[in-house]
Symmetry: C2
Subunit: 158 residues, 2 copies
């Protein structure tokens, strides 16, 4: 795990430089926000968090930075069914372990779960190898997502 999070960690900066991008305050701050949350933030969430300390940073820049981060594979983008995209640090840069998502259709709660992850990883490996051979498809990312009713909503639903 050579990547240190936190302010201006050479890992992040190096990634940007390595791709020919500049290392800017906006980028550092946005990454800092993503690094220090356990939530799945929307662009606007991030914008608000950033805005407290850096009111000059605009929503447009947040969107642009997130796009870059996703392209570079440093951040994952999710669709949990509310209209806005949600973002989370990629595994290698996160303190969270490899996980998938459980989304409540009623209240929108999102649970990170890690149960049976080993089995999933194994199955993924096998599947990817099979699909790559059969379709010549090179898999870059994989996602599993369950949705339904969370404990609370399940109870109320009755």
């Amino acid at each position: 795990m050579p990547w240190r999070g936190g302010k201006g960690g050479p890992g992040w900066e190096g990634h940007f430089r390595g791709c020919g991008y500049r290392w800017t305050v906006s980028r550092e701050v946005i990454i800092e926000v993503l690094s220090s949350t356990r939530h799945h933030m929307s662009a606007e969430d991030i914008y608000h968090a950033v805005h407290k300390d850096y009111p000059a940073i605009g929503l447009t820049t947040v969107y642009r930075t997130l796009d870059l981060l996703v392209d570079m594979g440093l951040v994952l983008k999710f669709d949990f069914g509310d209209k806005r995209a949600r973002y989370e640090l990629a595994e290698e840069f996160s303190t969270k372990e490899h996980h998938h998502h459980l989304v409540c259709n009623r209240c929108g709660r999102v649970i990170d779960y890690t149960e049976f992850i080993d089995d999933e990883v194994e199955l993924f490996k096998k599947t990817e190898k099979g699909l790559s051979k059969k379709y010549g498809f090179q898999i870059k990312s994989r996602m599993i997502q369950f949705s339904g009713l969370c404990g609370n909503c399940n109870r109320e639903q009755k």
Copy 2:
């Protein structure tokens, strides 16, 4: 498999009636389109297909009907990363077998794959049971999706 597809099959009509909805020409025609394609159509795709024979049916009705079908569990809604939602008959009403999706990030091609489905189903069952016990979460739907580069795009990329 008690459900017959095709024009006005009592299966579809019964489903609507059973939920207290009326059985209308628009609904019949939209279902007919979904039943006779192997593609993952957008609302607008469906609108255009319907429009040839029934120019009076509007895009709004297509959206509304799709929402209903998704709510009733007869149709699945996907996000393949282009901006529009994509729709496909649920397994029980489709001639396609249970499958998952392989999405090309470059050209947008979507492949239905069925490899290792048995393993996946087994793992899903186990996972669902575990999650249900641990989080009280009642799972209604599950999705797996891989993305990357398809055979063609992989070759060109070089």
